[in-house]
Structures are given as structure tokens and as C-alpha cells.
Amino acid sequence: MDLLPSEDQRDLIAAATDFLESRMPIEGIRARDGQPSAVDRDAWLEGAELGLLTLGLPEEYGGSGRLLDDEALLFATLAEHLATGPFLTSSLAARVAAQCGDLDLVGRISDGSVLVGLAELRGDGSIGPEGIKGTFDLIDCAGVSHVLLVTELGAAIVDLDEFPDVETLDSSDPGIRLATSTVTAATVRHWLPSGTDPIWLRATVLSAAGLAGLANAVTRLATEHAKLRVQFGRPIGVHQAIKHACADMAVASDAAMSQTLFAAVCVQSGRQDALFHALAAKTVASRAAIANAGATIQVHGGMGYTYEHNAHLYLKRAHVISHLFGEPTQVLADLLEQGAPQ
């Protein structure tokens, strides 16, 4: 049994961190605010070259063939640095395309020339091999050519052109782009049933990883501030009101990351209770990310409430991810339906 990152995994995290800090700094979110796309395309291409989109893609398709725990660590790191762009949907789409035999699309996603956004069904409608129908939120679909849709039954890749009358909306998270479209009939380019590869399960674990990464990042942010900010002649971190808030954040983010890695290992080893643990991870990590981001704003005082500070960016990203691949209440309902874990 081992749930600690190996040396190899620590190297992976360090390489991703280096790239994100130098090529995708958080400041870029504010710099591109108001522009059609949130993505810096040059940086995206470099990230693709570094293999950030193909870490879990099997080697036979040109990926690194790494296991889900590696991917969980990568997506936690991406979220910790508020990386912009549809990393998760593009890498999942490469997996879908590969198993549907579209090697051309796999190649183009992998080299960064094709980006795949996400469509989330809001309200009534349907997603299946025969087509899709309903009103969809389009997340990070500005300037992309393909869209991924994920359900418990399977995952679909649809051309963006299939979505009529795309209306751009003001996104609550300045680091993503949001639009909406109502589809009466659209063709599905590729459909991968969950029985062949449970994309939804992977998406649940990897979004939990992102949330755990956010929870972790804001814990660090608040703690560093509490060490440096001086009031009443002493760093505010000496006061229990602040110290205890930071301690609670540390526990929540540790619980979120531990459960996410536990779930990742359950999924990759095909354990019976893998779904239970993935749903538990999403639940724990959503709450940790949102609560910790809120606490971080409080620890920063007035500065935490400004647009200029990063704290709100983490909070907003946490809310976005918590609504992807299953509403929080649906995740809870699914979790309660599971048998007891082994």
C-alpha cells in the first residue's frame, strides 16, 4: 500500500509547476479579461508539447500512458495555478477519439492545434449516440472546434458547428468563457459507451483532483498571508481566530486530496467500490475548495475582496468545477445509492 507521490510523480508535479508559473501566470486571467477566449494559444501549444494533454493517453496513441493517480496529481497542479483553457475536456476527448478510432483528431488534440470545450446539459434534454437535444452551457468553447459531453452512460464528441445560435454569456469566473445554445437536433461525431471506458468516472475523479488542488492552493495563500501580515504589532497568524481558520483549511484540503488519490487508485485497480470513492471525493473536494476559498478571502480582509487579489479567482473556479459532470445534489443522491464501501 502506498498513497504518497513517488519521486517520479514529484518530478511530474515540479515540471508542470515550472511551466505554469512561467507560461501561464495567474495574472494572465486579468490580462485577457474581456477578450473572446481565455486561452493563451502559444502557451497552450507549449503545454501540449510538454505532454500536459496526453499524460493518461495510452502510449499506442502517442500519449504517456500514465495511470489515473498521475493524472489526478497533474489536474490538482493545474487547478492550483488556475491554469486557463479546457485541459480536462481536451485530454478526456483525446481518450474518447482514440477509442473511437479517430487517430487524426487524437493527433490534433495532442499537439494542441484542436481544443475541445465542454457542453453541460441544463434542464431537460438528451445525450446519446443518436444525437443530442436540449439547452447547453458551453464552457471554454470560444475558438474551439469540438465539444465534449459526458454522461453516466457514455461520452460524446460533437462539432461546435452543431450548436446553433451560440449566445455568449458573462461568466462568473473570469478565467473561463461561457456561452449557451439550444439544440433541437445535432449529430454526434463520436460516442464512447461507459462500458468501454468510464469517462464519467474519470472526469469525476479528475474534477475532484482540481477541487482538491484549489483547496490546497488557498490554504497556502492564507497561511503565507497570516505569517506576513502584521497587525497590533504581530503577525495575524499568532491569533487563534486566524490560526484555527488556517488549521481547518489544512484538514479540509488534506481530506480532499487523500480521498481523491484513494479514489484514483480504486478506479485504476478496478475496485468494486470505485464509484463510491469517486463520488465521495467529488463531494469532499467541492466543499473543501469552496469553504477554503471563502475562508481565504476572510483571512485577507479588505484586500481579499478586491478584483486585484487572486483569492476570488479560486473561489469562482471552485464553484465552476463543482457544477461539472454532475450537480452536487445529484452526486450526493448517487453516493447514497451505493452499497457500503469494502
Binding site: C246, A250, L332
Partner: protein, 390 residues
């Protein structure tokens, strides 16, 4: 990363399961002091005869010398059987025993350690005082040297199992002149010594599992001092981490069982609308699901903690994170149970009763106080995990 157990570990789990199934106590734990003493000691003796006493103790002291993962397996299976905690034997096995092992002299080791393992004796802890709770080092129960004895006067409080204990790990003040951490001595008190007066304290849950202990010119031989005179603080701290390692696994497995029991209970029990089962209520259903998720995360944290301990050999301040998370969850789940029970919560129950949700709820308040309050755990996490200033 992996969650795999080796073939040997799987086989070990089988052995544990077989042994526990055959030897676990059949009758439920009595409620009276004499009954509890007899029951806990008999179960300890059974474990010793089966070769399972002191699984975390080194073999040179007669323990099982099990690896961390074997201990984890033992506690998982132990709790899964619904067996009670080690309760009255806890201090001897997980605190006083290990302290004697690390800091005691040969006579102390050879006299006390086998008795603890064999289930001959019960130990209690004499640390807290009315004026020294979280600020333990300010303790003032006084001991003066008189010939070859210490003469002890003062008072201890919150002493679990004092009314059925044979020995006590006792912290006394032997010097007042230096800093408060200096001048403390760790000594073994025979609880049958004249001058010791024990008064049980009834808890809000109704039981009397802890006591006040008064010392009036109690004479303790100097040969009972463990470590040096005035070095008691470091002696006491040397084993604080012992109880935060794998032993915690049992609590966490037990709490997971509580959640599953509560889910079953809420399928049969009428909910807040007076008609449908409680689980049909959206709010209750969501809280149950969140409890499941949180308890799963506690287990994952425990596993991660054990992985850390395997690499670094000491559990470190991560133990405080587990204890804090566990205490919060105990209280949250117990409060949820009260909401599910609804007006039936007017009927009192004991935590030892099957589905004793009311007693369990009252008991849950102790979880964030005993063994170091949650506030102290947050200080430890803030300072030693996050590096915040003192």
C-alpha cells in the same frame, strides 16, 4: 500509488479474522465498574493467550511487534467485528506501557510490562488538574522527597478508569523554581496506596467513566520514578505520538459503521413528515451522503498518515489533523442521528445500547475535549504543520 496488500498481508488478515471470530467476547460489556474491570481484563487475557496482546509493542517486551500495515489490518478487522474499544486497558497498552518501555529501568519494565500485556492490571492517567487542563505544564500537585519516598499532595481530574485501576502514570511537581516545564516528575502510583481518594464524576451521558483523584500525604517509593526527578515533562511527551498512529484506525472503522447503521436505521424510522421513512427527506438524505463521503475521507487520510509513518518512522503532527477531523465528524454524525430520531430523542438511551443514538449524541461532546481539545489540535496544526508563529 496502490492500495494493495501483499499475499502475506492478505493471509494475515485471514488469520486475524478467524481468531477474532472464534475468540471475541459473546456477551455485551457490563455497565458497572466491577463488571467493566473484569470484562476488559478477561478480553485482554484472551488476546494475550492467543498471542495478540500489545500488537504494536516490540517482541522483546512480549508484544506482537507487528508492522504498521499488520496493525492497520488488525484494527480494521477488530472494529469491523463490532468489538468495543480497548477502554480500561487503553492507558496501560498505549501510553503508560510504552512510556515505561522507552524511559523505565529494568526492574520497572520487567515488573509492569508483562502484567499489562497479560491483562492482570489496569492503568489510569493522572495528568490533568482543575487548574491544568490544556495548559498541562502548569500542574501543581506537589511531591516532596522524604527519605526514599515521594510524598504527594494535590488533586487530579478527568481520570478515566481511576475507580477500577491498579496503577497510575502520575505527573507531579517536584520543583517550583524554574520554568513550568522543568520540575515535573513522572511517577508510578499504586492506586491502593493509603491517602488516595477517588470520587467518580457523572458525565452528561449518564455514565461515570472518569473521576477526581485526591492525594493526601500519599507515599510513593522513589524507585517508582520513571526517568529522572524533574524530567517528567520529556518522559510524558516521549510517547504522546504512540496513541495517534494505527490505533486510530479502529475509531475510524467504528465511525464508518455508525454511518452505515444510521443509513439502515433511517430507512426504517419514520422521518420528520411523520409518514415516510427519514431517508426520503432530502435534507436528511444529503447529510447522510455527506457523512459517508467525510468518513471515507477520514479513512483515506488515515491511510496516507500510515504511509507517511512507514517512511519517516514518527506519526508527527499529522495525528492532530486526524483527531480534529474525527472529532468534528463524530459530533456532526451524532447530531444528524438526533435529527433522524426526531421526537423519539426525548427517550434517553446509552451509547452502549444498540441504536443508542441519544447516548451517542451526548457522548459525542467528549470527542472534541478529551485527549487534547480540538482548539489545542488546531494550535498544533497551525504551528507545526503550517508553520504559523506562536
Amino acid at each position: 500509488m496502490d492500495l494493495d496488500f501483499t499475499a502475506e498481508q492478505v493471509e494475515f488478515r485471514e488469520q486475524v479474522l478467524t481468531w477474532l471470530t472464534e475468540h471475541k467476547p459473546r456477551e455485551s460489556r457490563p455497565r458497572d465498574d466491577a463488571g467493566i474491570r473484569e470484562y476488559d481484563l478477561a478480553w485482554q487475557r484472551t488476546q494475550w493467550e492467543g498471542g495478540w496482546a500489545g500488537i504494536a509493542w516490540p517482541t522483546e517486551y512480549g508484544g506482537g511487534g507487528l508492522t504498521l500495515l499488520q496493525q492497520l489490518i488488525w484494527y480494521e478487522e477488530y472494529a469491523a467485528q463490532g468489538l468495543p474499544g480497548i477502554d480500561a486497558c487503553f492507558v496501560g497498552l498505549n501510553h503508560a506501557g510504552p512510556t515505561v518501555m522507552l524511559r523505565g529501568n529494568e526492574e520497572q519494565k520487567s515488573f509492569h510490562l508483562p502484567r499489562i500485556l497479560k491483562g492482570d492490571v489496569i492503568w489510569c492517567q493522572g495528568f490533568s488538574e482543575p487548574e491544568a487542563g490544556s495548559d498541562l505544564a502548569s500542574l501543581r500537585t506537589k511531591a516532596v522527597i522524604d527519605g526514599d519516598h515521594l510524598v504527594v499532595n494535590g488533586q487530579k481530574i478527568w481520570t478515566s478508569s481511576a475507580n477500577c485501576a491498579d496503577f497510575q502514570e502520575l505527573l507531579v511537581r517536584t520543583d517550583n523554581t524554574g520554568s513550568k516545564h522543568d520540575g515535573i516528575t513522572w511517577v508510578i502510583a499504586d492506586m491502593h496506596t493509603p491517602g488516595i481518594d477517588i470520587r467518580p464524576i457523572k458525565t452528561m451521558e449518564g455514565g461515570a467513566e472518569f473521576c477526581e483523584v485526591f492525594y493526601d500525604d500519599v507515599r510513593i517509593p522513589l524507585s517508582n520514578v520513571v526517568g529522572e526527578i524533574n524530567q517528567g515533562w520529556s518522559v510524558a511527551m516521549s510517547t504522546l505520538s504512540f496513541e495517534r498512529g494505527t490505533a486510530f484506525t479502529a475509531n475510524q472503522v467504528r465511525l464508518a459503521k455508525v454511518v452505515e447503521d444510521l443509513i439502515d436505521f433511517s430507512r426504517d424510522h419514520v422521518g420528520p413528515d411523520g409518514r415516510r421513512p427519514a431517508i426520503a427527506d432530502d435534507e436528511i438524505a444529503r447529510r447522510l451522503a455527506r457523512s459517508r463521503a467525510s468518513v471515507a475521507s477520514l479513512r483515506a487520510m488515515t491511510y496516507v498518515g500510515i504511509c507517511h509513518t512507514m517512511k519517516s518512522d514518527t506519526p508527527g503532527p499529522r495525528g492532530s489533523m486526524l483527531k480534529l477531523h474525527y472529532a468534528d465528524l463524530c459530533k456532526e454524525i451524532a447530531a444528524l442521528a438526533m435529527d433522524i430520531v426526531g421526537a423519539d430523542g426525548l427517550r434517553n438511551s446509552s451509547r452502549w445500547d444498540p441504536m443508542g443514538w441519544v447516548g451517542n449524541y451526548f457522548y459525542s461532546f467528549s470527542q472534541s475535549i478529551g485527549g487534547g481539545t480540538s482548539e489545542i489540535q488546531r494550535n498544533i496544526i497551525g504551528e507545526r504543520v503550517l508553520g504559523l508563529p506562536r
